[in-house]
């Protein structure tokens, strides 16, 4: 299994990992570590920053493709990062709230198809998704929408309606007092059918 990144920033309420240049997991991706406890984390943001504190990139006036060949140091000095939020931990067969943050330098991996389906099929996982504090992470709903869309698309066509209905039903309970958000979710997910 090939790692997709490594956690390098651990601040209160902020976890970020460095990915490979030109490829960092899309927002809404579900990742996991490879040690105990097994943690599931969701990618909530992406950013690029300088490896040298205080250094700001200089303008070169070149197209992006030309920068690498003409000014290669500029890309060496940058790192491609993504922000993560822990969703839950797997304890035996049970999903539980995260008990802490992952260690620094934790390697991250894709949650592969079968596992992805299994995790997303769990209603408790869905509940943990919506426990992510929206005041701390205003884009929470958008992130979750992307994750759910990815899941729906991954479900075989024959089961897709059933799964979509299950998710929407769960969402309609979670958002029973916030109809406009619920409607956004419904529209967003339905498009993918």
């Amino acid at each position: 299994m090939k790692s997709i990144g490594e956690i390098l920033l651990l601040r209160p309420s902020f976890i970020a990992a460095e990915g490979k240049r030109d490829f960092i997991p899309p927002i809404g991706s579900l990742l996991k570590n490879n040690s105990k406890p097994l943690r599931y984390l969701i990618v909530v943001d992406q950013f690029v920053e300088s490896r040298i504190p205080g250094r700001t990139p200089a303008p070169y006036g070149l197209d992006y493709g030309d920068i690498e060949s003409e000014q290669p140091q500029s890309t060496f000095l940058m790192r491609w990062m993504y922000q993560l939020v822990p969703v839950c931990e797997l304890n035996g067969t049970k999903y539980e709230a995260p008990t802490g943050v992952p260690d620094i330098h934790t390697l991250l991996y894709w949650v592969e198809d079968a596992e992805f389906t299994e995790v997303l099929s769990s209603s408790s996982f869905m509940d943990f998704l919506f426990r992510i504090d929206e005041t701390m992470l205003p884009q929470r709903n958008e992130v979750i929408m992307r994750l759910l869309r990815k899941f729906i698309v991954s479900v075989p066509q024959i089961n897709r309606d059933k799964e979509l209905l299950r998710i929407l039903t769960r969402l309609s309970i979670i958002f029973r007092n916030d109809y406009s958000t619920l409607k956004q979710f419904i529209k967003s997910l339905e498009v993918k059918i």
Binding site: D161, L165, L168, T169, S172, I173, R176, S180, I186, E190
Partner: protein, 511 residues
């Protein structure tokens, strides 16, 4: 399972939230439902269905696709039923009135055949009367209990009163529960009758030729006897009930009583003999009788129509009333019909019904307890509101029978379409009610007056169609909305054991 218990009380009934995949359209008012409590099963009737929402915003931006609608079902939009509980059963199947409530989230399901059987097929003499509106299981009525109290069938014309009555009466006769005395205003309970489509159907005499005798006030080939009532068998009180038709005042009633006091049993013959007398002659007679001359003239005038009735005769032959009483005493039911020129004659119907019923009243009152034990009589009257109106309260034999005769084993079976015109005191004495379609609000109100949970039952009543009936009261453990059983081949076959040919249709139409 259709849902779970959300809230409620013993007195107000329960709110049951439907599961999201249960469409409210799959349920109907009047359906039986069972709440599975931790200890008890609670049996009730759905008396309302509601569409609700947890967030009104949904109506400003309604779901646009079936999937969206489905997704919102059960959370943002949901349905509830209102369930009125009537009886509960312990784990051994013993029924009792509702004394407690099931826990929150108790599961609720539609009743199954075993539930209907548990509730309705119990002791006594159960008789298959119909099926729940959405099931095929049989609903039974306890005929023993039914005959112990006054009963009523209410419904508008065409709602199925006659068919239901024929079924109930057949049950009472076949099971030898009681002797029926049926005042058959429209000639439907004798040998045959025409149904709504004009088809001839067998009736009680065809089903039970030996146990039913048909009397008629006029010539009728289907009748066993023509009624003859000697003048001497008529009392002034017998005529009182027809006072409205005869334009008979209270003063005339008093005068009639005075004439009877002077002339004894010959009073009516005497009265008829005065027709055509001059005023002077009448004045003289009045003086000798000690009555007011004008009042006597009025009484003669008012009773003239009675002298034209063929079955009232100046004879010393045995009155048909005695024959009828003897039949009833020996367990044979009697259908009194009104054919020929007396068809649809309110005067004759009221007069004959009143005379015979008054005699039964007198007879039963004078019987010993051991005699009464063997004898149970059910008097059936149609257009009952005309007999039992509040105006006639004081002199009404049927009111007296309804109120006081249960202890003498005589009960009334009322068939009527205007219950609002029946004396409420009499209505309160009705033990079991079959209520078919009704339209008039005042009639509906009066049917449910004084009935626990009446307002809930009204909702069920409004949902009934022809041949459907709400049944509640003494002879059933809980109210039930039912489809009256088919009055067709199966029923005829069930009754054919009593027919000499073994087939009522052969009796009716010949071989």
């Amino acid at each position: 399972m259709i849902g779970f218990l959300k809230s409620g009380s013993v007195t107000e009934g329960f709110a049951v939230r439907l599961l999201r995949d249960v469409s409210p359209e799959s349920l109907k008012i009047g359906d039986f439902a069972v709440i599975e409590g931790r200890i008890y099963k609670f049996f009730g009737i759905i008396d309302d269905l509601r569409l609700l929402s947890s967030n009104e915003d949904v109506f400003f931006d309604p779901p646009e696709t079936p999937l969206q609608k489905l997704a919102l079902s059960g959370s943002i939009i949901y349905s509830e039923i209102q369930l009125s509980p009537y009886v509960m059963a312990d784990p051994d199947g013993n029924l009792m009135s509702i004394k407690t409530v099931p826990e929150h989230f108790s599961s609720v399901r539609l009743a199954e055949n075993r539930d209907i059987e548990l509730v309705f097929k119990r002791g006594g003499k159960p008789f298959f009367i119909g099926t729940p509106l959405t099931m095929d299981e049989h609903i039974y009525v306890d005929l023993e209990k039914l005959s112990m109290r006054n009963n009523a069938i209410f419904g508008i014309t065409g709602s199925g009163k006659t068919v239901l009555a024929k079924i109930v009466f057949s049950g009472l006769i076949r099971n030898e529960i009681a002797s029926l005395l049926i005042f058959d205003m429209h000639n439907e309970y004798g040998r045959s009758s025409k149904n709504e489509e004009g088809r001839v159907e067998p009736s009680l005499k065809t089903f039970f030729p030996k146990n039913v005798k048909v009397f008629d006030v006029a010539h009728n080939p289907d009748a066993d006897s023509i009624i003859t009532i000697p003048y001497v068998d008529v009392d002034p009180e017998d005529i009182a009930l027809t006072s409205e038709i005869l334009h008979y005042s209270e003063k005339s009633e008093e005068t009639a009583l005075l004439v009877r006091r002077r002339k004894g049993k010959e009073w009516l013959k005497f009265l008829f003999s005065l027709q055509g007398k001059t005023d002077e002659e009448l004045a003289e007679i009045s003086e000798s009788l000690g009555v007011n001359s004008a009042s006597l003239s009025a009484l003669i005038r008012h009773t003239t129509r009675l002298s034209e009735l063929d079955f009232l005769q100046d004879t010393m032959e045995e009155s048909s009333i005695n024959q009828i009483l003897n039949y009833l005493k020996s367990g044979i039911s009697v259908v009194v019909q009104f054919s020929g020129k007396y068809k649809n004659s309110a005067l004759v119907y009221f007069l004959v019904a009143n005379i015979i019923s008054r005699r039964i009243h007198g007879k039963h009152e004078s019987m010993s307890d051991s005699e009464l034990k063997r004898l149970r009589t059910v008097i059936v009257i149609e257009e009952a509101h005309k007999f039992l109106s509040t105006n006639l309260k004081e002199r009404n034999i049927f009111g007296i029978i309804a109120r006081e005769m249960r202890k003498f084993n005589v009960t009334l079976f009322i068939i009527d379409q205007r219950p609002s015109e029946i004396d409420p005191e009499v209505l309160s004495q009705v033990g079991t009610r079959f209520v078919l379609q009704m339209m008039d609000e005042s009639d509906i109100d009066s049917v449910f007056q004084g009935v626990g949970g009446g307002s809930r039952l009204k909702k069920i009543l409004r949902s009934l169609q022809a041949r459907e009936s709400l049944l509640f009261g003494f002879s059933v453990p809980m109210p039930v909305a039912m489809r009256v059983r088919e009055f067709g081949e199966d029923f005829f076959k069930e009754m054919q054991l009593n027919s000499p040919h073994g087939d009522p249709n052969k009796d009716l139409y010949g071989e």
